[in-house]
Amino acid sequence: MMMHRTTVLAAALAALTLAPDGSAQRFGRRGRPPEAQPQAAPQPEKPAENKKVESWTVIQGGDVHVGDGTVLRRTHVVLADDKIHAVGQEVEIPEGATIVDATGKVVAPGFCLPMASGFGAPGGGSDVREGLNPFDPTIKMGLAAGITSFLWTSGSGAGTPGGNSAVVKLAYGDLDGMVCVENTTASMRMPLSAQDLSKFRDLVEQARKHQDAVKEAASKPDTKAPAAPKGTEEILKVMSGEKRLWIASGGGGFRFPGMGGSGSRGFDQTQIRQAMEIASLLGVGVVLDRPIEAWAIADEVAATGSMAVVSPRQRVENDEAAPDTTGSNIAQSAILHAAGVPVAVTTPSGRFGGSPSIGTGGIMGQDLNTPHVDAAFAVRGGMPNRAALRTLTLDSAKIANADRRVGSIEAGKDADILILDGDPLHYKTFVETALVNGKVVYRKDDEPFYRHIRR
């Protein structure tokens, strides 16, 4: 292949590589100084070797928000078919590449949402492909909102991991491009009864024994690995990292802010601690699905390597007997982040229990039409601005257990990329172009939603 070397920028313009924003936090009375955050180095899948590249695309000269909190000024992103090939200020621009000029624009990873519904995915069932509609009009609306993938889930285990999931891409018009990964998560619900918990402990023990037996079998030639004991299959997948375990609360109902109500507090400290016990038993971090009081025991959550999906603006009234450690408030996501807990944000539109979705009813700022607003609310609660973009990109991809494929702009990852007309978390910022699997699937000027709006 013919290549020519292009150096676009003079040394004087050599961009700053800005480290993740480390400015101080503001958490109210219960604030604490930030701690060093364990950076989970994403390991993109290796590109298939010897694969002939059919089309090259270069997104040229934009300020690239990588997704891990860093920003690369005036940087090029080279796409080889559906993958990111290279990111840098000095990159080889392949002959015949399609050049997309992003000078003066912001380039960001497509948002990978931890929970959503619609976008052509079925409402449930065991197989996400069943009825999957690549032409669903909500896909275009999702792309307009910056969403390029989301974790689809169906069903859940109760006292043990279960359910189906997939990371679905908003690959408009391309059925084959829609399913990114399948069954990378499982889920279960708290609280467990004492009986369920002891059953779970037994299963984990059996699973560990099985792992040892498999190891032993592997060390001996001609020995066949034993079959997994019944009931441990999902647990083994969680322990090996093949599946990320999501833990939600099965109890308690949502209470409309300020409207009282009789629901229990739901995913409170007691249930979160039980979830942490599950994480410790399994030896892997779990995902807390919209916990209420995780912020109050953020260190305990961080210690297990666990993560959280949070609607930053969700307020839950605190218990007057323990006002400083109960309920939830705007600082929750920032406190979790500062403690080293990866956080993905979600929107209030799922507050009645369903999955958040795109709305068309006129309420703006409360649903998946504006995921960046939810990240902005994490900033309102004290999360640094750049870290907050992670709540929609790398950390949410990690929570979906798809960070090997999506969530950041790094060589080897899927070419799911946004070109924005400004700061990714500013309320006035719009997606100008969205690419999924390296293909342009949305242009603001080509779709009816926002083309009438000028900067």
Binding site: G258, G365, V379, G381
Partner: protein, 430 residues
């Protein structure tokens, strides 16, 4: 950048950025030799007179003021202007806010949560002009603290839209935990009327249709007008003393033009019908609220009447052409400039009033209009422009402090003052 800012930058700015809001080190300009003041000291000491310095004052009634000084005396703003123009008398403590932005407290005219939630729809009969929300307020409600955490200092706590006239809302200052008397600005802040959908009576009563509701409202308004006229005549010595009618005593105030009517509307049809009824026919002081769905189609008819419009909580209409039509922008472009924006809390959380305006800006309302829609415009609409809505000498010292654009959800109010008193510090609500 102003001279004043040059003095505090850059050291102080760094200090401010590096501090927690609670301990916001509001160091006085030591160079000036004036008494220094911190936010917590301000809270404890409650000085009668103090000065505020900040990088920018969004006065709303004029251009933004960079590097100015605002002098607060008692509950009022005594002076505001460039640092060189506003003399800070000796001994007056200075609250130096460094690089922060000061804006007026926001005004939300469609707010339902000062009862702590619910208790706002008495739906036995369709006409309830004798009711008032004053009787439902819980000053200790967490909802009030949450409202002020969003920089909202004045609200109209109105009854729900379950009936055609659901009662009178109280106009309140959001002073959390304080006593009722201190909160109430006007006991009868506005009469709440509902047109369309919500108040339809489906149990077989009159009022199942628009026609029926129109009749019920008209009849009530005619009675109120007649009753008010009888009392006015009596007061002028032109008639007998009317018989006291308890159910019309409050309504009478509407026809004395002491109290406005705020009308829930749904769609263009209701918007025009509302303007005809309350402006053209009954000539009341009125505010058209919601104005959403396809309400913006009525905007030119409303613009011709200068109808005061209070928009929200919906902010767009997905048109038949697939366009996310901003409602506020639609009104604005049609010439309807008397626009305020609401939350309809709890539909949108009361503290997200700024987000409502931000979303209007996202959908093409000019930013200046959006800021006014949360401040001066609603203040005028509710008849309180002499007290709130802008940073103007003589007005109540209701203001908030943010790190930047107060409409940006990333910038929470760090400090909120009502009538000169610090009522909220970021973190209070956590």
């Amino acid at each position: 950048m102003s001279h004043a800012m040059q003095r505090i930058a850059p050291g102080l700015a760094r200090t401010l950025r590096g501090s927690c809001a609670v301990g916001l080190a509001l160091v006085a300009g030591s160079l000036s030799g004036q008494e220094s003041l911190t936010a917590s000291a301000l809270r404890a000491a409650r000085p009668d007179v103090y000065a505020v310095r900040a990088a920018r004052f969004l006065t709303v009634d004029g251009a933004p003021l960079d590097g100015g000084t605002m002098l607060v005396e008692g509950s009022r703003i005594r002076a505001i202007g460039a640092a060189t123009d506003v003399a800070v008398p000796p001994g007056v403590p200075i609250l130096d806010l460094g690089d922060r932005v000061v804006s007026p407290g926001f005004v939300d005219l469609h707010h339902h949560v000062s009862s702590g939630g619910g208790d706002i729809n008495d739906m036995v009969t369709p006409i309830n002009a004798e009711l008032r929300t004053l009787d439902a307020i819980r000053p200790s409600s967490r909802a009030i603290a949450e409202t002020v955490a969003g920089g909202v200092t004045t609200t109209l706590f109105i009854p729900g839209s379950g009936t055609n006239i659901s009662g009178f809302g109280a106009l309140l200052k959001m002073k959390p935990g304080s006593d009722l008397d201190a909160m109430v600005v006007r006991e009868l802040g506005a009469m709440k009327v509902a047109q369309g959908y919500n108040p339809e009576r489906r149990s077989g009563d009159l009022g199942e249709t628009r026609m029926g509701m129109h009749h019920l409202l008209t009849e009530a308004l005619m009675r109120g007008r007649q009753y008010a006229a009888a009392w006015r005549a009596f007061a002028a010595g032109e008639g007998d003393k009317p018989e006291l009618q308890a159910d019309l005593e409050q309504l009478r105030r509407v026809f004395d033009r002491e109290v406005p009517v705020i009308i829930h509307t749904a769609g263009a049809r209701d918007c025009v019908a509302t303007a005809r009824m309350f402006q053209d026919v009954f000539q009341t002081w009125m505010i058209l609220s919601h104005g959403t769905f396809d309400g913006h189609w009525a905007a030119s008819a409303l613009a011709a009447r200068n109808t005061p419009v209070n928009l929200g909580p919906r902010m767009y209409q997905l048109t038949r052409e697939g366009r996310m039509q901003g409602i506020a922008a639609g009104y604005w472009d049609a010439g309807c400039k008397d626009l305020s924006i609401n939350t309809d809390a709890p539909v949108i959380a009361a503290e997200e009033l700024q987000l409502q305006a931000a979303m209007a800006v996202r959908l093409d309302l000019p930013w200046d209009a959006a800021l006014r829609s949360l401040t001066l415009v609603p203040a005028r609409q509710i008849g309180l422009a002499d007290r709130v809505g802008s940073l103007t000498p003589g007005k109540d010292a209701d203001f908030q402090v943010t790190r930047g654009d107060p409409l940006d959800p990333r910038h929470p109010p760090e400090l909120v003052f009502i009538e000169g008193r610090l009522v909220h510090v970021l973190g209070d609500d956590r």
